[in-house]
């Protein structure tokens, strides 16, 4: 038999057994097919065995390192790794942060049913008449300044209808009225890092970088970064959904802001302090992200 006939016979056999299974979609995108030289079955089997042994050993070792490396990593090492990742994520967030970006605001028709989620730090009865706000870390002052609600209300009033997002995953739309924190800081000047006179609007980067807020009983405390505090939608709020704050919502004065999760929106603020150190945070101490910023 001539070689051509051998070839044609084999091609016919191939076509009969495999039909037109191959070559359709492959030819459209000129898909590559890489095959080694033809060898006898025993050689192929041996070569495949060698390749399998190597690949399964390498793959198995990698899997063991991955699984047991993670499982046997000391709890403290793992905690630090995840904590440092939060801090890394925070740096990335702050790199992209622009104070000019605003959270969406909503029409009054979208205001949700109110929702109370936690009474930590506000589980004692509120004495409205006795309430005052202490402010520490002010420029040119060593001791706390003590303010009343009227002092706060004397500042420009701002209203917004924004989405409050709980770290648990739910959200509600709330109408707030109060004082922009930036207006408050422009009146009661925070310290600067270099001791120069503060210019809150002009050079906020010179202000001390952190703000600490706590309830009068110190049962709940949060730490904020200065850029988020000075965001135009961060308010010291005294009204919610058109009426004065109820005790369970943080009367007489609370934080309201779409820049962070609800865990950061301290109710019944007793003290505000501008600090150079990253301040303590109730939920960060339970493993949540200190920054928790949006």
């Amino acid at each position: 038999m001539k070689k051509e006939e051998v070839l044609l016979k084999k091609v016919r056999e191939l076509n009969d057994t495999e039909g037109d299974e191959r070559g359709n979609t492959a030819t459209i995108l000129t898909e590559k097919k890489e095959v080694g030289p033809p060898v006898d079955a025993a050689t192929a089997k041996r070569e495949m065995f060698v390749r399998s042994r190597r690949s399964f050993l390498v793959g198995g070792a990698a899997a063991l390192v991955g699984v047991f490396g993670w499982r046997w990593m000391p709890a403290e090492t793992k905690y630090n790794l995840l904590r440092r990742t939060f801090e890394f994520n925070e740096k990335v967030s702050q790199f992209f942060y622009r104070p000019s970006r605003l959270a969406p605001e909503f029409p009054p028709s979208r205001i949700s049913q109110r929702r109370v989620n936690g009474m930590i730090g506000i589980d004692t009865e509120l004495d409205r008449a006795a309430w005052t706000l202490s402010v520490g870390g002010l420029y040119g002052r060593v001791d706390d300044l003590v303010l009343t609600l009227d002092d706060i209300k004397a500042l420009p009033r701002t209203e917004m209808i924004t989405e409050l997002k709980c770290i648990e995953g739910w959200s509600i739309i709330v109408q707030w009225a109060g004082v922009r924190f930036s207006d408050f800081a422009a009146k009661y000047l925070p310290n600067t890092t270099d001791g120069s006179r503060p210019d809150v609007a002009g050079s906020p980067e010179k202000l001390v970088p952190y703000v600490s807020l706590s309830t009068p009983d110190n049962g709940y405390f949060v730490g904020w970064d200065m850029p988020s505090v000075l965001h135009p939608q961060t308010l010291l709020a005294y009204e919610m959904n058109g009426e004065p704050l109820l005790p369970e919502h943080g009367a007489p004065l609370r934080l309201a802001s779409p820049t962070k999760y609800g865990i950061k929106l301290l109710k019944r603020i007793g003290r505000i302090e501008f600090t150079t150190e990253r301040s303590r945070d109730y939920w960060a101490e339970s493993g949540y992200d200190w920054y928790s910023g949006h």
Binding site: K3, V6, L7, L8, K10, V11, E13, G19, D20, E21, R22, G23, N24, T25, A26, I28, L29, E31, K32, K33, V35, G36, P37, P38, D40, A41, A44, K45, E47, R51, S52, R54, F56, G59, A62, A63, G66, V67, L82, F86, N89, S93, Y97, R98, R101, L102, A103, P104, E163, K165, C166, I167, E168, G169, W170, S171, S286, Y288, D289, H294
Partner: protein, 235 residues
């Protein structure tokens, strides 16, 4: 019959594929720890909850309750690895030309239905295909889009103020969370089908994803000895 070793999967694809497995597992696991804190989604038919995600026994069995903080820690650690691995995968497919084996082509959807009928043993013949059949092409491309979707909807939930435009584009914060959840369910469904298909395809197919190679019958054309080029026969 002579045999040949066929190179099925490149080293990069195998590593990216297998690394993705624990990464996606950790993303879904930590996602469940987070989802538990506000488990609000159900399958509703005519307004009646048909199946709630998830029933209490499910959470108890897996030990999920009250681990929100841990879930967030894990999610925002593994998200980087998951996203980077996925990005390398896409760049590699594009640069190596291996996208040719994966992208659906005209006619893929029609042939994919035939593949499904073949898998269901309703028709006897698998439609013509290259390295992957058309159902695989659609599935493997879709899963890349799902990965991108998970990253995008995740970012919209993670930074709904700095990325407010993106969150709005997805229908708002609540919708973005809903979309993120359902993409995860799709991943789980993909995984289930993938495992069944791999089990049905057999050992050699599974082994090829580890070793990169499979043993195939030698191409008869290539085994014809000493065919002078001038006498070549068109086939």
């Amino acid at each position: 019959m002579k045999k040949q070793l066929e190179r099925k999967h490149s080293l990069a694809i195998r590593w990216l594929h297998w690394v993705n497995f624990p990464l996606l597992t950790m993303m879904i696991w930590s996602g469940m720890l987070i989802y538990w804190a506000n488990a609000v989604y159900s399958i509703r038919i005519f307004g009646t909850a048909f199946f709630h995600f998830f029933p209490p026994w499910f959470y108890e069995f897996l030990g999920i309750p009250y681990r929100l903080a841990e879930g967030i820690q894990l999610h925002f650690f593994f998200m980087w690895l998951f996203a980077v691995n996925g990005l390398i995968y896409v760049v590699y497919l594009a640069a190596s030309g291996e996208w040719r084996a994966i992208l659906p082509v005209p006619g893929s959807f029609g042939r994919a239905i035939q593949v499904a009928l073949y898998d269901a043993k309703i028709v006897k013949k698998l439609p013509p295909h290259g390295k992957y059949n058309d159902a695989q092409r659609i599935a493997y491309t879709a899963v890349i889009l799902m990965g991108a979707g998970s990253v995008i909807t995740g970012l919209a939930i993670y930074k709904p103020l700095q990325l407010a435009w993106l969150t709005s584009l997805l229908g708002g914060y609540e919708w973005a969370r809903w979309e993120h959840f359902w993409l995860t369910i799709l991943f789980v469904l993909f995984f289930v089908v993938h495992i069944i298909q791999v089990a049905m395809a057999g050992w050699a197919n599974f082994r090829s994803m580890v070793t990169g190679y499979d043993v195939v019958d030698a191409d008869p054309v290539a085994t014809v000895p000493d065919l002078p080029e001038s006498e070549g026969v068109r086939v």
